[in-house]
């Protein structure tokens, strides 16, 4: 691995790790944020409506 390759690897891995860490920190440290943050949630309302 060349020096520039090492730099690219560290910069890339470091950036995405820091970004992910920042997002997790922001979600956990902002009051009530976990109630407002969503991903692709499989429990969609139409499941309950059909029961």
């Amino acid at each position: 691995m060349s020096t520039s390759g090492l730099f690219v690897m560290i910069a890339s891995v470091g950036t995405v790790t820091l970004l992910f860490y920042w997002c997790v920190y922001k979600v956990l440290s902002t009051p009530h944020e976990t109630e407002k943050v969503h991903g692709v949630e499989f429990q969609t309302p139409d499941i309950a409506e059909d029961r």
Binding site: M1, M9, E33, V37, F42, D50
Partner: protein
């Protein structure tokens, strides 16, 4: 006692909060993180590809992702939870729903082959853990993969043998629909909540094992992890090329990585009598290749599920008070962490360490994951455990993605036919059973899978993503679009993204799309500025000539495109009759009289 109760509540609160993070992250991660990305990055030059990838993430991935979250939530506030409904609600035009149909076709058709790949993952995982994998050569791994995927010929995958995908596919397919119908309850919810942390833990274990491999074979010191990392991340490529390749012969002899290999290559070139030369291709030269940019953009789309029609549907269930900005950013960042920090450090370095550079070059997605890596694990101490863990990790990543691909179709059928979930799931199950059966039958060269992956998984996604960002930036306008996105948000989208979303992103996509059409479909060579052979994907459909030889059409490819057209026509006919969409075109809420 009160203190213990408080501590217990505090611990549970943290547990549930972390569970939210894991749920968001888990929904973002899929097969592409660990299979597609490493192969593309290695194929297109590591560091140069990473620059194009990072730019694509900032200009395409994040902006269109945020646009989808905002537009989806808006549509949901009007009562529309399908992509056609969202487009009709936003554009208020009769033709809008037909554009939105792309957002149903893409996830439904991709599901048809994605679930096939998913079955390979669980099949490999179980085979490893039950000690059925005894591989000593690349030929054996190729045979194992051919048997699993049915590449021996059309219909060969339809054998009920544990060595082929059919029994695994049946279980996975039923499991997917059981989950999507029943929703999550009890144990299943726990599985999904624990799945993401387990995935990361497994990936870190495998990563740790790979990083400590060194050079496994003392007789082949060049086959080591450091050279594998170099192959993956070095911005420049060094390769031996033929000075005057013969007709039909490639100029590239092989790529070399590492000082020792380069020194040996220099000796080989000197001894070749002028037939070979050692060439360094700089990052800048690689960045002038439009195919590299196309590959980076396509990977961003696929990996972040942008232009899939998935985010817009799930966002439609959110409320004004929900935070779509941080949701989108967290999901994207989790995806990128798994892709770059884990996928980028595991797959290619391990393959190079055990099998050498030649085994990795040009492997693409499936080759790397299912032919090279099983042999890597078979040759690794405790490889049975690590191999099973890796492929089970891939299965976990795949199943959360495949389930998410079903909801757009379900929501669409519920809206156009005004039926409940039971009926819509049944109908979609029938449709996808037929489609997956089609893919599983036409497995010679994985032609159906490959054709659908190109025309739907690349081409249509480009189109939908481009339309979405133009609707967001030009129909809504940036001011209104950002206002919609910021509702409920704890962070603001940086102002410069307004310029990106309105101008840079659409221009970038249109340029890449044009270059994709010219080079991939019509064989235009950007270096010589001439038209060469038509792309294989086009020749499969209409025939053509390649290097002076007439190439016939491929029936499986033609039928695959016909399948997509039939699905599109079927969905269009359903949309045309939908009273809900007619209300959307008039600017009315779905349940408004």
């Amino acid at each position: 006692m009160a203190t213990l109760a408080l501590m217990s509540q505090h611990k549970e609160a943290w547990g549930s909060r972390l569970g939210v993070i894991m749920a968001v992250a888990g929904s973002a991660v899929g097969l592409g993180n660990f299979l597609r990305f490493p192969g593309l990055a290695a194929q297109y030059g590591g560091g140069a590809f990473m620059l194009a990838y990072a730019i694509s993430f900032l200009i395409i991935g994040l902006p269109i992702g945020w646009a989808e979250w905002a537009m989806g939530r808006y549509a949901g506030s009007k009562g529309y939870h399908s992509c056609p409904g969202a487009f009709a609600a936003i554009l208020n035009k009769p033709w809008a729903k037909y554009i939105g149909i792309i957002g149903v076709i893409v996830p439904v058709v991709i599901y048809m082959y994605y679930v096939f790949i998913e079955s390979w993952c669980i099949g490999y995982a179980v085979k490893f853990w039950t000690g059925q994998v005894h591989l000593t050569s690349t030929e054996q791994t190729v045979e194992m993969f051919k048997a699993m995927s049915g590449q021996m010929g059309d219909g060969s995958a339809l054998t009920f043998s544990w060595n082929s995908a059919l029994p695994w596919l049946a279980m996975v397919f039923i499991f997917n629909f059981w989950l999507i119908y029943r929703g999550l309850s009890g144990g299943i919810e726990k599985m999904c909540n624990y799945g993401m942390p387990l995935l990361i833990v497994l990936a870190l274990v495998v990563l740790g094992r790979v990083m400590t491999l060194g050079a496994p074979d003392p007789a082949k010191p060049h086959d080591n992890v450091v050279n594998g990392l170099g192959y993956m991340w070095n911005p420049s490529k060094v390769q031996i090329e033929r000075v005057r390749p013969a007709a039909g012969e490639k100029a590239l002899v092989r790529e070399v990585v590492g000082e020792a290999s380069i020194a040996e290559a220099e000796k080989e070139v000197a001894a070749s009598g002028g037939q070979w030369k050692l060439v360094t291709i700089t990052a800048w030269q690689q960045l002038k290749n439009p195919l590299l940019w196309m590959a980076a953009a396509a990977q961003i789309f696929f990996s972040l599920s942008v232009g899939f029609g998935v985010i817009i549907v799930y966002a439609s269930y959110l409320k004004k008070k929900d935070d779509v900005v941080l949701s989108g950013l967290t999901a994207s960042s989790a995806n990128e962490f798994c892709e770059v920090a884990l996928g980028g450090l595991i797959t290619v370095p391990a393959a190079v360490a055990f099998l050498g550079l030649a085994s990795v070059a040009g492997q693409g997605t499936f080759g790397l994951g299912f032919t090279v890596l099983p042999l890597v694990f078979a040759k690794m101490p405790l490889g049975t455990f690590f191999g099973g863990a890796f492929f089970f990790m891939l299965f976990l990543a795949a199943i959360t993605s495949s389930i998410s691909m079903l909801q757009p179709g379900i929501a669409f059928l519920e809206e156009v036919m005004n039926v409940g979930r039971k009926v819509s799931v049944t109908l979609l199950g029938l449709l996808t059973t037929f489609g997956t059966g089609f893919v599983v039958y036409f497995t010679a060269d994985l032609k159906a899978l490959d054709t659908l992956d190109f025309w739907v998984g690349t081409f249509l996604i480009f189109i939908l993503a481009t339309i979405q960002i133009i609707v967001f930036g030009w129909h809504w306008g940036i001011e209104r679009g950002l206002k919609e996105a910021h509702s409920g948000a704890s962070i603001r989208i940086p102002p410069f993204f307004g310029f990106i979303m309105k101008w840079l992103c659409p221009a970038f996509l249109l340029v890449i799309f044009t270059l994709t059409v010219l080079t991939s479909l019509f064989g235009f060579d950007l270096n010589s500025m001439t038209f060469g052979s038509t792309s294989a994907y086009v020749m499969d459909l209409i025939g053509g000539t390649q290097e002076g030889k007439v190439v016939g059409t491929n029936q499986a490819a033609q039928l695959s495109v016909a399948l997509v057209v039939i699905v599109a026509v079927f969905f269009s006919l359903l949309s045309a009759r939908s009273k809900a969409y007619q209300r959307a075109e008039q600017g009315l809420n779905k349940n408004e009289a």
